[in-house]
Protein backbone atom coordinates (compact mmCIF):
# COMPACT_ATOMS: atom_id res chain seq x y z
CA UNK A 1 0.00 0.00 0.00
CA UNK A 2 2.91 2.35 0.50
CA UNK A 3 4.49 4.14 -2.45
CA UNK A 4 7.83 3.11 -3.83
CA UNK A 5 10.84 4.68 -2.08
CA UNK A 6 11.36 7.05 -5.01
CA UNK A 7 7.73 8.21 -4.93
CA UNK A 8 7.91 8.73 -1.18
CA UNK A 9 11.11 10.73 -1.52
CA UNK A 10 9.57 12.87 -4.26
CA UNK A 11 6.41 13.45 -2.22
CA UNK A 12 8.33 14.45 0.84
CA UNK A 13 10.68 16.70 -1.10
CA UNK A 14 7.81 18.45 -2.87
CA UNK A 15 5.75 18.70 0.26
CA UNK A 16 8.64 20.11 2.22
CA UNK A 17 9.28 22.59 -0.58
CA UNK A 18 5.68 23.81 -0.60
CA UNK A 19 5.53 24.07 3.16
CA UNK A 20 8.75 26.01 3.13
CA UNK A 21 7.27 28.37 0.53
CA UNK A 22 4.18 28.80 2.70
CA UNK A 23 6.29 29.69 5.71
CA UNK A 24 8.56 32.04 3.73
CA UNK A 25 5.53 33.74 2.20
CA UNK A 26 3.99 34.14 5.66
CA UNK A 27 7.23 35.59 6.99
CA UNK A 28 7.36 37.98 4.05
CA UNK A 29 3.89 39.16 5.05
CA UNK A 30 5.25 39.96 8.48
CA UNK A 31 4.41 36.74 10.28
CA UNK A 32 0.69 37.44 10.15
CA UNK A 33 -1.11 34.29 9.06
CA UNK A 34 1.96 32.15 9.59
CA UNK A 35 1.25 28.55 10.45
CA UNK A 36 2.39 27.78 13.98
CA UNK A 37 2.17 24.57 15.93
CA UNK A 38 -1.31 24.27 17.44
CA UNK A 39 -1.89 24.78 21.13
CA UNK A 40 -4.06 22.13 22.76
CA UNK A 41 -6.93 23.34 24.96
CA UNK A 42 -9.64 21.56 26.87
CA UNK A 43 -13.27 22.40 26.10
CA UNK A 44 -13.80 24.37 29.33
CA UNK A 45 -10.51 26.20 28.88
CA UNK A 46 -11.36 27.09 25.28
CA UNK A 47 -14.81 28.30 26.33
CA UNK A 48 -13.33 30.56 29.02
CA UNK A 49 -10.61 31.85 26.73
CA UNK A 50 -12.68 32.14 23.56
CA UNK A 51 -12.19 35.89 22.94
CA UNK A 52 -8.41 35.49 23.26
CA UNK A 53 -8.42 32.29 21.19
CA UNK A 54 -10.23 34.07 18.37
CA UNK A 55 -7.88 37.06 18.58
CA UNK A 56 -4.91 34.70 18.27
CA UNK A 57 -6.56 32.78 15.39
CA UNK A 58 -6.89 36.09 13.57
CA UNK A 59 -3.13 36.52 14.00
CA UNK A 60 -2.53 33.10 12.45
CA UNK A 61 -2.32 30.84 15.51
CA UNK A 62 -3.97 27.44 15.43
CA UNK A 63 -5.64 25.53 18.25
CA UNK A 64 -6.83 22.03 18.92
CA UNK A 65 -9.80 21.87 21.26
CA UNK A 66 -9.78 18.47 22.83
CA UNK A 67 -13.07 16.99 23.96
CA UNK A 68 -13.90 13.58 25.45
CA UNK A 69 -13.87 10.33 23.46
CA UNK A 70 -11.58 11.56 20.69
CA UNK A 71 -13.75 14.57 19.85
CA UNK A 72 -11.40 17.27 18.65
CA UNK A 73 -11.80 20.57 16.84
CA UNK A 74 -9.01 22.18 14.87
CA UNK A 75 -9.36 25.97 14.87
CA UNK A 76 -7.45 27.66 12.07
CA UNK A 77 -7.47 31.01 10.32
CA UNK A 78 -9.45 30.73 7.06
CA UNK A 79 -6.73 32.48 5.03
CA UNK A 80 -4.04 30.13 6.33
CA UNK A 81 -6.35 27.19 5.59
CA UNK A 82 -6.90 28.36 1.99
CA UNK A 83 -3.15 28.70 1.42
CA UNK A 84 -2.56 25.29 2.94
CA UNK A 85 -5.29 23.88 0.71
CA UNK A 86 -3.74 25.49 -2.40
CA UNK A 87 -0.34 24.04 -1.49
CA UNK A 88 -1.99 20.66 -0.89
CA UNK A 89 -3.70 20.69 -4.30
CA UNK A 90 -0.41 21.58 -5.96
CA UNK A 91 1.23 18.58 -4.34
CA UNK A 92 -1.65 16.33 -5.43
CA UNK A 93 -1.20 17.72 -8.95
CA UNK A 94 2.51 16.93 -8.77
CA UNK A 95 1.85 13.32 -7.71
CA UNK A 96 -0.91 12.83 -10.26
CA UNK A 97 1.32 14.21 -13.03
CA UNK A 98 3.86 11.50 -12.22
CA UNK A 99 1.15 8.85 -12.31
CA UNK A 100 -0.47 10.11 -15.51
CA UNK A 101 2.93 10.07 -17.24
CA UNK A 102 3.12 6.36 -16.31
CA UNK A 103 -0.33 5.76 -17.85
CA UNK A 104 0.27 5.05 -21.56
CA UNK A 105 -3.38 5.48 -22.58
CA UNK A 106 -3.59 8.88 -20.89
CA UNK A 107 -0.33 10.09 -22.45
CA UNK A 108 -1.50 8.90 -25.90
CA UNK A 109 -4.82 10.74 -25.51
CA UNK A 110 -3.08 13.94 -24.39
CA UNK A 111 -0.67 13.72 -27.32
CA UNK A 112 -3.53 13.13 -29.77
CA UNK A 113 -5.28 16.19 -28.41
CA UNK A 114 -2.72 18.45 -30.01
CA UNK A 115 -3.46 16.88 -33.42
CA UNK A 116 -5.83 19.33 -35.14
CA UNK A 117 -7.56 16.51 -37.04
CA UNK A 118 -8.48 14.97 -33.69
CA UNK A 119 -9.82 18.24 -32.28
CA UNK A 120 -13.46 17.55 -33.11
CA UNK A 121 -15.37 18.68 -30.03
CA UNK A 122 -18.54 17.16 -28.61
CA UNK A 123 -20.83 18.84 -26.12
CA UNK A 124 -21.73 17.12 -22.88
CA UNK A 125 -25.25 16.36 -24.14
CA UNK A 126 -23.82 14.81 -27.31
CA UNK A 127 -21.55 12.63 -25.19
CA UNK A 128 -24.49 11.71 -22.95
CA UNK A 129 -26.42 10.54 -25.98
CA UNK A 130 -23.43 8.42 -27.08
CA UNK A 131 -23.31 6.82 -23.62
CA UNK A 132 -27.08 6.28 -23.92
CA UNK A 133 -26.55 4.43 -27.18
CA UNK A 134 -24.11 2.15 -25.40
CA UNK A 135 -26.79 1.55 -22.73
CA UNK A 136 -29.20 0.31 -25.38
CA UNK A 137 -26.68 -2.36 -26.42
CA UNK A 138 -27.31 -3.82 -22.97
CA UNK A 139 -23.91 -4.70 -21.71
CA UNK A 140 -21.53 -4.34 -24.61
CA UNK A 141 -18.97 -1.65 -24.17
CA UNK A 142 -18.46 0.28 -27.36
CA UNK A 143 -14.83 0.51 -28.43
Amino acid sequence: MRGSPSTRTLTRAVLTGHLLETVIEAQRRGAQGMLKLPEVLGVAEARNELPHVLEDVEKGRTFIIKGPKGREAFVINADVFRRLQDAYLEVVGELETVRILEDEAAVRAIRESSDEERRELFTLSEVESLVGEVDEDDGDVKS
Binding site: E90, E112, T123, V131, G139
Partner: protein
Protein backbone atom coordinates in the same frame (compact mmCIF):
# COMPACT_ATOMS: atom_id res chain seq x y z
CA UNK B 1 -34.12 30.70 -34.16
CA UNK B 2 -34.59 33.60 -31.80
CA UNK B 3 -33.63 31.73 -28.63
CA UNK B 4 -29.99 31.66 -27.63
CA UNK B 5 -28.62 28.30 -26.58
CA UNK B 6 -27.26 28.03 -23.01
CA UNK B 7 -23.53 28.72 -22.61
CA UNK B 8 -21.60 25.48 -22.75
CA UNK B 9 -18.49 25.35 -20.59
CA UNK B 10 -17.39 21.80 -21.28
CA UNK B 11 -16.52 19.93 -24.44
CA UNK B 12 -15.05 16.49 -24.94
CA UNK B 13 -12.65 15.94 -27.82
CA UNK B 14 -12.51 12.77 -29.93
CA UNK B 15 -9.76 11.15 -27.85
CA UNK B 16 -11.74 11.96 -24.72
CA UNK B 17 -14.93 10.42 -26.10
CA UNK B 18 -13.09 7.29 -27.23
CA UNK B 19 -11.44 6.86 -23.82
CA UNK B 20 -14.81 7.33 -22.07
CA UNK B 21 -16.57 4.76 -24.25
CA UNK B 22 -13.92 2.16 -23.44
CA UNK B 23 -14.95 2.22 -19.77
CA UNK B 24 -17.62 0.10 -18.07
CA UNK B 25 -21.06 1.69 -18.30
CA UNK B 26 -21.38 2.49 -14.62
CA UNK B 27 -18.06 4.35 -14.71
CA UNK B 28 -19.18 6.21 -17.85
CA UNK B 29 -22.22 7.51 -15.98
CA UNK B 30 -20.16 8.46 -12.93
CA UNK B 31 -17.68 10.27 -15.14
CA UNK B 32 -20.47 12.20 -16.88
CA UNK B 33 -21.76 13.33 -13.50
CA UNK B 34 -18.26 14.40 -12.52
CA UNK B 35 -17.97 16.35 -15.77
CA UNK B 36 -20.91 18.41 -14.52
CA UNK B 37 -18.68 19.50 -11.61
CA UNK B 38 -15.91 20.40 -14.06
CA UNK B 39 -18.32 22.32 -16.29
CA UNK B 40 -19.46 24.40 -13.31
CA UNK B 41 -15.90 25.57 -12.55
CA UNK B 42 -13.42 24.47 -15.24
CA UNK B 43 -10.67 26.78 -13.93
CA UNK B 44 -10.78 25.72 -10.30
CA UNK B 45 -12.19 22.19 -10.15
CA UNK B 46 -9.71 19.42 -9.40
CA UNK B 47 -5.98 20.04 -9.26
CA UNK B 48 -3.49 21.63 -11.67
CA UNK B 49 -1.06 19.24 -13.35
CA UNK B 50 2.64 20.10 -13.49
CA UNK B 51 5.31 20.09 -16.17
CA UNK B 52 5.28 18.56 -18.77
CA UNK B 53 1.48 18.50 -18.42
CA UNK B 54 1.22 22.11 -17.35
CA UNK B 55 -1.98 23.67 -18.66
CA UNK B 56 -3.98 20.54 -17.97
CA UNK B 57 -6.08 19.88 -14.88
CA UNK B 58 -7.24 16.61 -13.42
CA UNK B 59 -9.94 15.40 -11.10
CA UNK B 60 -10.48 11.95 -9.74
CA UNK B 61 -13.10 10.13 -7.87
CA UNK B 62 -12.62 6.58 -6.73
CA UNK B 63 -10.98 4.55 -9.45
CA UNK B 64 -11.10 6.89 -12.43
CA UNK B 65 -9.69 10.24 -13.47
CA UNK B 66 -10.69 12.96 -15.90
CA UNK B 67 -8.11 15.21 -17.57
CA UNK B 68 -8.97 18.49 -19.29
CA UNK B 69 -7.41 21.70 -20.46
CA UNK B 70 -8.87 25.17 -20.66
CA UNK B 71 -10.20 26.64 -23.87
CA UNK B 72 -10.93 30.31 -24.34
CA UNK B 73 -14.10 30.73 -26.37
CA UNK B 74 -14.66 33.55 -28.85
CA UNK B 75 -16.71 35.48 -26.29
CA UNK B 76 -13.75 35.31 -23.92
CA UNK B 77 -15.43 32.73 -21.72
CA UNK B 78 -13.36 29.82 -20.47
CA UNK B 79 -14.45 26.23 -21.09
CA UNK B 80 -13.00 22.79 -20.38
CA UNK B 81 -11.85 20.48 -23.17
CA UNK B 82 -11.84 16.95 -21.74
CA UNK B 83 -9.04 14.97 -23.35
CA UNK B 84 -9.09 11.74 -21.36
CA UNK B 85 -11.24 9.72 -19.00
CA UNK B 86 -9.65 6.59 -17.64
CA UNK B 87 -9.49 4.12 -14.83
CA UNK B 88 -6.45 4.65 -12.65
CA UNK B 89 -4.07 1.72 -12.94
CA UNK B 90 -3.90 -1.07 -10.38
CA UNK B 91 -0.76 0.44 -8.94
CA UNK B 92 -2.76 3.55 -8.07
CA UNK B 93 -4.89 1.85 -5.46
CA UNK B 94 -2.94 3.76 -2.87
CA UNK B 95 -4.83 6.99 -3.21
CA UNK B 96 -2.81 10.17 -3.58
CA UNK B 97 -4.81 11.88 -0.85
CA UNK B 98 -4.31 9.04 1.62
CA UNK B 99 -0.62 8.98 0.81
CA UNK B 100 -0.33 12.72 1.37
CA UNK B 101 -2.16 12.47 4.62
CA UNK B 102 0.46 9.99 5.79
CA UNK B 103 3.20 12.47 4.89
CA UNK B 104 1.42 15.31 6.67
CA UNK B 105 1.22 13.06 9.72
CA UNK B 106 4.89 12.14 9.35
CA UNK B 107 5.76 15.83 9.44
CA UNK B 108 3.82 16.30 12.69
CA UNK B 109 1.62 19.04 11.27
Amino acid sequence: MGTSSPKRRLFVNRAGVESLLELPKNIQRQALRKMGTVEAAPESAGYPLRKPLQGFRGIHSGRYRIIWRLLTLEEGEVAAEVVYVGIRSEGDQRDAYAELQKHFNALDL
